[in-house]
Subunit: 227 residues, 2 copies
């Protein structure tokens, strides 16, 4: 199973060519033939390394996640406020995906198909999903302030879901510099912080329990085992 250096290099070359072309021309125009040509390999060779065009996109997924984590870097260490931490992570997210906006929509096409491995809720995506949730776990874990304990446990998953919602909006956002998404993100972060505050009030016990019960139900369907 050990791959030879040459194979690794070829695979990387193909992936880079694909990502470049996705950026430059969007999804449809970046044909497999063009990708292979740009990478300097035969069409069949591209398929040798990537079973389909969608597999190329899975790699894109991974890449944006890595870039997101890199963009956050160690900056979280300096912040103790929940809102500041969440804002940091969300800003880094939007910045890291921006270069790919052009073809993100078409990507989402596959992602929405329940049968597609690209679907963020699919079993195949579980590792990526779990990794992506990890950063929100960090956000919550390092936050000072009153957050109801049951909420603290579920919050990372909720934040991951929330961030998927923002990405969904971003995909549809055609405003210059994605202004609308940024505004929505900032407002919604503010709202989330408020809601977490309210939900953590002792009085809100029943509502909180109803909400968390439902969320666990929702999560159960896609991930049989919770982390």
């Amino acid at each position: 199973m050990k791959q030879r250096p040459k194979a690794v290099a070829t695979k990387a070359k193909i992936l880079e060519a694909a990502l470049d072309l996705f950026r430059e021309r969007g999804y449809e125009a970046a044909t497999m033939r063009a990708i292979a040509e740009r990478a300097g390999v035969a069409l069949g060779n591209a398929y040798y390394y990537f079973g389909s065009k969608e597999h190329l996109i899975q790699a894109f997924y991974d890449r944006t996640h890595v870039e997101h984590v890199a963009a956050v870097g160690t900056k979280l260490d300096d912040l103790k406020d929940f809102k500041a931490r969440l804002l940091l992570v969300m800003r880094a997210k939007l910045e890291s995906i921006e270069p790919y906006h052009r073809f993100a929509g078409l990507l989402f096409r596959s992602a929405a198909d329940p049968a597609s491995p690209l679907n963020p809720f699919s079993a195949e995506s579980q590792p990526v999903r779990q990794e992506a949730t990890e950063i929100f776990r960090k956000v919550v874990a390092g936050s000072r302030g009153r957050i109801a304990p049951e909420l603290r446990a579920e919050l990372p998953n909720l934040l991951w879901l929330y961030h998927m919602g923002i990405v969904l909006f971003w995909i549809h956002d055609t405003s210059k510099g994605r202004r609308r998404t940024w505004r929505l993100m900032e407002r919604s972060v503010d709202l989330i912080v408020k809601l977490v505050g309210v939900a953590s009030l002792p009085l809100m016990g029943p509502v909180r329990r109803a909400a968390l019960g439902m969320v666990r139900e929702l999560r159960g369907s896609t991930q049989e085992s919770a982390a």
Copy 2:
């Protein structure tokens, strides 16, 4: 612009063939060639009437909406309680779409593409979206009980969005009889009613305003003019 009877008949023939084949074989297997053949027309002729395969699906959309409205019928008139009304509409929704579960996933592939006319947030879908929101407007309008006025105005749109979320879950739900979706729907309706109650408390003014402000922002991006 008046269409000749022959044209209407041909178009209908093609549409019926398409819906039949979608039901029988699912989306992918129902090729445009097969549809044309079943309808007894040439491939090019199918494209003369329906610009793309996706346009055929738009018709499918419309049909499920009509069926939903039919399933609700006049039953709303008998109920004055918000929760009961919302439950009625949501149950009718799940029942009316159930026969199509098998290929709904593949349909939603296109629906998720921002560039697709099928996208529920797209301009092309605005009529359908508005119609679909209408039923939630009715739900709210006929409900007795304390609901903050600003909330009342925005609630139909929020409920439409909520119902889209439930449908999204339903698409991914492989449990027998879609049990999980039903349970989630019932729990979430309960939660929504609780939340509306809490949000309508005078004390919640700031949170409510933050939430509604954000929602309007969100809505603004897809519908330039609010109803």
